[in-house]
Symmetry: C2
Subunit: 240 residues, 2 copies
């Protein structure tokens, strides 16, 4: 794009993978809970399999195959299936499963995030725009000590990204045109959804997102207005 | 109440009058705009009359007499009437009237607010819960350099406080019971609405809110779980 600083007023950040390191955070907590219960479990493998079910579970809501359900509910359904598949279903009763679902509520930010957001907030309105439920996002962002100007959840639109209505809802709530919003994400599918709704797009490469065996999206394969390697890099590019 | 620290998890703050000094902020900006246009106008009197139309204009939305309308729209309608009444309608064309409506988007915080919020956020989830539109609130709170964990607008419920549904919407979005939310406000009507929805209530006395000729609500006339004189006082009372 010509100069994003001329038109963009709002930066909308994806959270899971883009802002916080879900794999490290969830796998560590899963390993702890499993250890407490004396269960042998490959926490990294369970976490990877859990996340693999993320997009398909939301796609069923977006297509109308099932009615609106919170991300916590989708996570719980995927977890129940996976504990059977990993042959450890008997070791995790109701209360443990609830704890496991809540591991997604407390995740560490990537190390460049706090500084990048701080600098970007001087010039832009900086919001979270995530498929996590609103309560989940408020908890997660507070626990990670991050400061956004506002938090927006796909819950507000009762569907999930990459449905264009989620991105449009964000622009409407903030009273700006879609083209005045820059969506920042580490995922191709998220930026494609944003672009289809008329938003500008910034890709942040997070090569470690999916752990040693996963394949994260790379800048070379992703169409975006701006390609960056961190939130600090984005701040530099936008002159903040 | 016994000990609010035991049950309360969320503090919900009213904004106009409780957190920011709308009268000083609006009157100063109105005086500036009038001076630019060379109009003699008692800015304080216009501001007071404008605010007097605030509750009645929202009551017409709450009662269903008229469909949902943003606070900016209600402010504009009241302004148009008042400029006629003050006999200065010809002096303010469309662009000036839009500027006047936007004076409500940029208001100074009371001096105890930043410190009080900072201390309270260490222990509680601290949110804004206002009749202002979401975009207005995001702008206002950013311009005043205040940090909330999240911003909630009556817009989300498509009606206005003191309708109980606005307070319940806040508890639902944050995934807590109404009794786990403490509503903080300088207005009796707001706390009465919150109580009717099952929230706890904290009154903050703002004797200067309505200027030298107005009569602000006082603690002695207001039923609440906690009565305070500032956000710092509230932090002390809650052990933050």
């Amino acid at each position: 794009m010509k100069d994003p600083a001329d038109t963009v007023q709002v930066l909308a950040f994806d959270i899971f993978g883009t802002t916080v390191d879900w794999r490290t955070g969830v796998a560590e907590q899963v390993a702890e809970i499993a250890a407490e219960r004396g269960v042998a479990l490959d926490a990294g493998a369970l976490t990877d399999a859990w996340r693999e079910r993320y997009l398909p579970s939301m796609a069923r809501v977006r297509s109308g195959e099932r009615p609106w359900a919170f991300l916590d509910t989708l996570h719980r359904e995927s977890l129940d299936e996976l504990l059977e598949l990993f042959d450890v279903a008997d070791a995790f009763e109701e209360a443990s499963r609830r704890r496991l679902v809540r591991t997604w509520h407390r995740l560490p930010a990537w190390e460049d995030v706090a500084e990048g957001l701080h600098r970007l907030r001087r010039r832009y309105t900086v919001v979270a725009l995530s498929n996590g439920g609103f309560a989940l996002l408020v908890r997660l962002i507070k626990a990670a000590r991050l400061d956004f100007d506002a938090i927006l959840s796909a819950e507000n639109a009762r569907t999930y990204k990459p449905d264009p209505s989620v991105y449009r809802m964000a622009a409407e709530l903030l009273d700006v045109a879609p083209g005045q919003v820059l969506m920042v994400a580490a995922h191709r599918w998220d930026l494609e959804g944003a672009r289809s709704a008329g938003l500008r797009t910034a890709f942040v490469e997070r090569p470690a997102e999916k752990g040693p065996h996963g394949v994260a999206d790379r800048a070379a394969d992703t169409v975006s207005d701006v390609a960056t390697t961190s939130f600090v890099d984005l701040a530099e590019l936008l002159g903040c």
